[in-house]
């Protein structure tokens, strides 16, 4: 009974997920909503504004450095929590 319920529930979730993926815009389509002025600005101005030829590095460490600082904090908190849980008993 529980197995049948689990299977029905998983089927419903996967139906929703598959429907979402089917509605997604085609990869690389020029009409995509993500193809707006933000990536245009990165592609045209990244080398001039940050000096880094790797545009991804210039985005994660210059344009969105505050986000990466949060990411480093997440790593720090994760390792602190792991140490507290594993060594603190």
């Amino acid at each position: 009974m529980r197995l049948v319920l689990t299977l029905i529930f998983l089927l419903m979730i996967s139906l929703v997920l598959v429907a979402t993926v089917a509605e997604m815009p085609t990869f690389g389509d020029i009409e995509n909503p993500t193809n707006n002025e933000v990536p245009q600005r990165y592609i045209e101005g990244a080398v001039e504004e940050t000096g880094a030829v790797n545009v991804i590095a210039s985005i994660i460490i210059d344009y969105r450095a505050f986000d990466t600082l949060g990411e480093a904090t997440v790593l720090f908190v994760a390792i602190a929590a792991a140490m507290a849980t594993l060594k603190g008993h």
């Binding site: 940050t50 210039s58 460490i61 450095a65 600082l69 480093a72 790593l75 140490m83």
Partner: protein, 145 residues
Amino acid sequence: MEDIIVRMVGRISVPFIQVYGFYVILHGHLTPGGSFSGGAILGSSMILFALAFNLERGHKKLTHEASTLLECGGASWFAILGLVGVYAGVNFLANQAAGFYMGIPNTLVSAGAIPLITLGLGLKVASTVVTLFYSLAEVEGDSHD
């Protein structure tokens, strides 16, 4: 685990993996890769050393004090480099506006604060991977005693 083949292959390949990890970290602003992937390569080389030899010898290479210093130092180094921008009178974590040396694009010394932040963050990620491995391995070892 005492196996002559694993130990010899580990002894030969660990320095090359570490050089590659430092290459990925230091060229983060030039080639694909950067702090997170380079740090993971560096950390996995230390895990390979500990697996090929033993946990005690591996732990002596990167002690608890050293990894504590790398963890806290990497995050603080990032925040301090961000405060340079505040000191210069512009935004927090500013790069070009804060007066970092930009250099010529596509050379090793360029892009201002990006290589400095990448180096600190890469060492921090490597230390995180290694610390997590030792925490899990030691807990596992305790339960078998």
